[in-house]
Every structure is written in C-alpha cells, then in structure tokens.
C-alpha cells in the first residue's frame, strides 16, 4: 500500500468511524454489534480499496458494508441462539437521522457516552473510543493506565448502558442545557488531560488536545445555536495556540515569559473570530468568558501590553457564573498587576485552596515580589510537592533557587 493511500485510510477512519458506529448503534441498539461491524467494514475497505480505489463516498460505503456485516452477524446468531429480539431489530423502521441538525446519530451517541449515570472516567473513555475512533490501547496510553484497566472501564460502561437502558437520544429541550454542560465538561477534560500533562515529547497526549478540538468542532456543527460550544472551541484554540511556547528545555514557561513569536497565529485568529461571534450573541457563560480572557492575553503583542483591567473585569463576570475559589485565585493574579502584590496576596490568603499547587505557586510569586524570601521559599516548596508535572516542577525549582541567591 502506498503511503498516500495509508494516510488517506487513516484520515477516513478518524473522520467516518463515529458516523458508522453511531448509525449502527441507532439501528441495532447495541454498541458491541456496531463496533464489531464497523471494524469488519474497515478491514474490508483495507482489502478492496488498494485495488478498486477509494469510493467517491467512503463514509457511505463503510456504513453500508458495516450494516450488512451486522445483519449477517445477527442472522447467524439468531439462527444459533434464536435471539428473536435482536432479529426483530433488523427491520427497525426508524429512518436515519437527518445529518446536520441536532438529531444527528453521532450527537445521540455522544450524549449517551457523556451520560451522568456513567463515571467521569468512563465518559471520557467512551467518548474517545466511540466518537473519536481511538483504540483502547491509545486511550490507555493517553491516560497512563494499563490496557486491561482501560478495556475493563470501557466494557463496564457499555454493560451499564445496556443493562440500565441508557437511551441513545438527544435530551429534551428542558434537560439539554445541563446535559450539554456535561458533554462540554468531558471535551474540556480530554483537552486538559492532553494539555496540562504535555511535556512536548509525548505525541499521544498531544493528540488528545486535537481530538478535543475536533469534538468541539463537531458539536458546533451539530448545535450551531449554543454559544458555550463556540466559547469552548475558542478557549481550546487559544490555549492550543500557545503550546509551542509553553515548555522550553523541559521547563514550564509562564504566560508572561513566553516567546509570543512562537504562538500559532492562525489558531489565535480563528479563536478571536469565535470570541467575537460569542459577543455578538451576548449570552455569556463559563467557557465564553474563559475564551474572552484568553483572547485578551493573546491580543497583547508583549506581556507588558496586557489589558489587565479587562481581564479582571472578565474574571468578575466569570465569578458570577462560576463562584469557585480557583476563579478567585486567577482573578487575584490580574489584581496583582492592577493594584499590586499586597492587595492580591490578601485576596489569595483568604482562599481555601491549600491542596492546589497553583495556589501555592501564586502565593510564592507574590511573596517573592514583596521581597519576603523565606516565606516565598516555603510556598515554592509546598507548590513543588503538590504537583507531579515535571515541567512545572522544573520551573518552580528554578524560581525557588533564584530566591535563595537573592
């Protein structure tokens, strides 16, 4: 097989897997049947396409082939096991969902994967497996757990979907905002798993960020009217844009010290355009406000040009929708730039976040700026022991070392 063909097949697999699986899940009501048939169809494609060429509509070819494989399998099993119930599904009269509207098969399946009755770990794993088309081995590697653990997690979740009759359905309008919030949380979790842990050398984990962005693009195409989806997409693009500058020599580089010339201008432009779309809709929410904050940061040609007043104002708005101590902590960072480290430190010390490494790191930085070196050193130590991330530890350790040299 030529390299081009192989790359093309990989691309088709990633793009069409969810379409094929979701369509079969709707038709046959069984995730395992759908996944097995989709795999068989992909194997058939690998056999035929190198000689016959890629068909004009590869997704349609895969869905038709997979459907036929599934029906064959169910017929075989119903002959053997007289599974009348499954046989009846062969003549399921449900018409396929109209693609492009909210009633899309992939969207139904995504809401199933992100159902609140499943554990958060299972939601993430199922979403990557069924919608992302990742293998169990890839997901296990990305989450640093053994293959068998991930396989069990996915199997258990699929069994619960089946046993508890978790539906394949886009939730009713009344439930949609809350359930969509759950889906967005899963997508952002996938992104952060890839972003926060990335050391620049770990491509599987970096792929998680791209996968999360792909999921957000898909969601936005399916539900174009929800600005929080747009906000989450913008937030991830503006974060991803800074990845090339985020780690240097195995050490974390803070936003203020990053080489802004290495930021991805295309992603930033796209992110800014999406933030403007959100502003035009004027229904602010958690992800939109985070995106707006990131837009202000990425709008500044140099760290010194940052509009901290606007950032603090956006954090005020964010605190109204998400009154969490983490938001208050980030707001304090902006306050330090506006009103000085004394005011900021007072705000930080009021927060009960002593198990959060960023709280200690923020305190350490403020104490350093106030010249309170021994207290700063203790705070750096607390921050270092509260994080496992090697790049972050390297950064904090260097900063602490510079302190004692003062």
């Amino acid at each position: 097989m030529t390299q081009d063909l192989e790359a093309e097949l990989t691309r088709i697999h990633r793009e069409e897997y969810a379409v094929v699986v979701a369509s079969l899940v709707r038709r046959f009501g069984d995730i395992d049947v759908a996944e097995d048939a989709a795999s068989e169809a992909l194997v058939a494609a690998l056999e035929h396409w190198p000689t016959s060429g890629i068909p004009p509509n590869p997704g349609g070819w895969l869905t038709t082939t997979a459907t036929r494989k599934a029906i064959d399998r169910i017929r075989r099993e119903s002959n053997r096991d007289t599974k009348h119930q499954q046989a009846a599904m062969i003549i399921d009269p449900t018409p396929p969902a109209d693609p492009g509207v909210v009633d899309d098969d992939r969207l139904r399946l995504l809401f199933t994967c992100c159902h609140p009755a499943l554990s958060p770990e299972a939601r993430v794993a199922l979403t990557l497996k069924l919608i992302g088309g990742l293998t169990v081995e890839e997901i296990a590697a990305a989450f640093l757990v053994p293959d068998t653990t991930m396989a069990q997690r996915i199997t258990r979740a699929k069994r619960k979907i089946s046993d508890a009759h978790i539906p394949y359905r886009v939730p009713q309008a009344a439930d949609l905002p809350a359930r969509l919030g759950g889906v967005l949380a899963v997508v952002y979790l996938i992104f952060n798993e890839g972003y926060l842990s990335s050391s620049g050398a770990d491509s599987i984990r970096d792929d998680l960020c791209l996968e999360a962005i792909r999921l957000a693009r898909l969601l936005r195409a399916l539900i174009p009217t929800e600005p929080e989806i747009t906000g989450l997409l913008a937030l991830m693009l503006l974060t991803e844009a800074r990845r090339p500058a985020r780690v240097a020599g195995g050490e974390l580089v803070t936003l203020g010290e990053q080489d802004r010339g290495r930021w991805d201008r295309d992603l930033i432009e796209e992110g800014h355009a999406l933030v403007r779309d959100c502003l035009a809709i004027n229904r602010p929410g958690h992800y939109q406000l985070l995106a707006a904050i990131n837009a202000v940061h990425t709008d500044a040609p140099a760290a010194a040009d940052t509009d901290w007043g606007q950032i603090a104002a956006l954090y005020d708005q964010l605190y109204v929708v998400s009154p969490t101590p983490v938001v208050a902590l980030n707001r304090a960072v902006a306050v330090a730039e506006l009103d000085g480290p004394v005011v900021a430190l007072a705000a930080v010390d009021r927060l009960e976040l002593s198990s959060y490494h960023a709280w200690h790191a923020t305190r350490a930085d403020l104490l350093r700026r106030l010249g309170r070196s021994s207290e700063a050193a203790a705070a750096y130590d607390a921050a270092i022991s509260a994080t496992d991330n090697p790049a972050e530890r390297a950064y904090l350790t260097r900063r602490r070392g510079q302190l004692s040299a003062d």
């Binding site: 508890a164 009759h165 539906p167 439930d175």
Partner: protein
C-alpha cells in the same frame, strides 16, 4: 418495558423526624404515588420497618440458620422502595428525582434484569 427499583436509603443515626416534620413528607409521598399510578408506570411500592425488625435466614448450608438483624452491617439501610416501569434510564431518573424530593431521602435507581 424495563422495570426499575427505586430504593430509598435510611441512615439510622439520623434524628427521627417529629410528627410535624413527617406529615408534609407523607403527603408529598402520597401525591407522588398517585402521580406514578396515574401515569400507568406503577408496579409496586412500600415502606419498610426499621432494621430492628429484620431477621436473616441462611439456608445455603446443610442446616438453615436464623439470626436477628440485617444481612450486612451498613451505614445505610433500605427504608422503602418503588418498582416502576420506564422506557429508559432517563425516564426512571426523572421519577427518582421526584421521589427523592417527596420522601426527602436519597434514591438509588437499579434496573431489573431483562427477561
């Protein structure tokens, strides 16, 4: 249609509610029961006496053994339950939310095995 057991957890260390406190809960549960019956989803429901009234029977060995008390030491016990029919888990969860609010207790939702 799938059937679900909605069971209500009781913590025996919680203070026993006064008659004034318990009356509105009874009324809310009655109203909820009526609603389930009217919807046609009702299968069965009941409240249980406390674990002091429980007796455990074990006939898995050669001689049946009868002992006082529940079969497992637990922080919480089954206080009562509903068995309902629901099209899927989402519908069962809607009923469970209403039932939990009515009886002022946490509700566990479990599907019955399909025939």
């Amino acid at each position: 249609m799938p059937q679900y057991l909605l069971s209500v957890a009781i913590d025996p260390t919680d203070a026993v509610p006064s008659p004034e406190e318990i009356q509105p809960i009874f009324e809310a549960v009655d109203a909820f029961n009526d609603k389930v019956r009217e919807s046609g989803k009702w299968v069965f429901a009941g409240g249980l006496e406390g674990i002091d009234a429980a007796t455990t029977v074990d006939a898995t060995g050669t001689e049946p053994v009868v002992t006082d008390g529940p079969f497992a030491e637990a922080k919480e016990y089954l206080g009562g339950f509903w068995i309902i029919e629901a099209a899927d888990l989402d519908e069962a969860l809607v009923w469970a939310k209403e039932g939990s609010a009515a009886c002022q207790g946490r509700v566990e939702v479990r599907p019955f095995q399909s025939a």
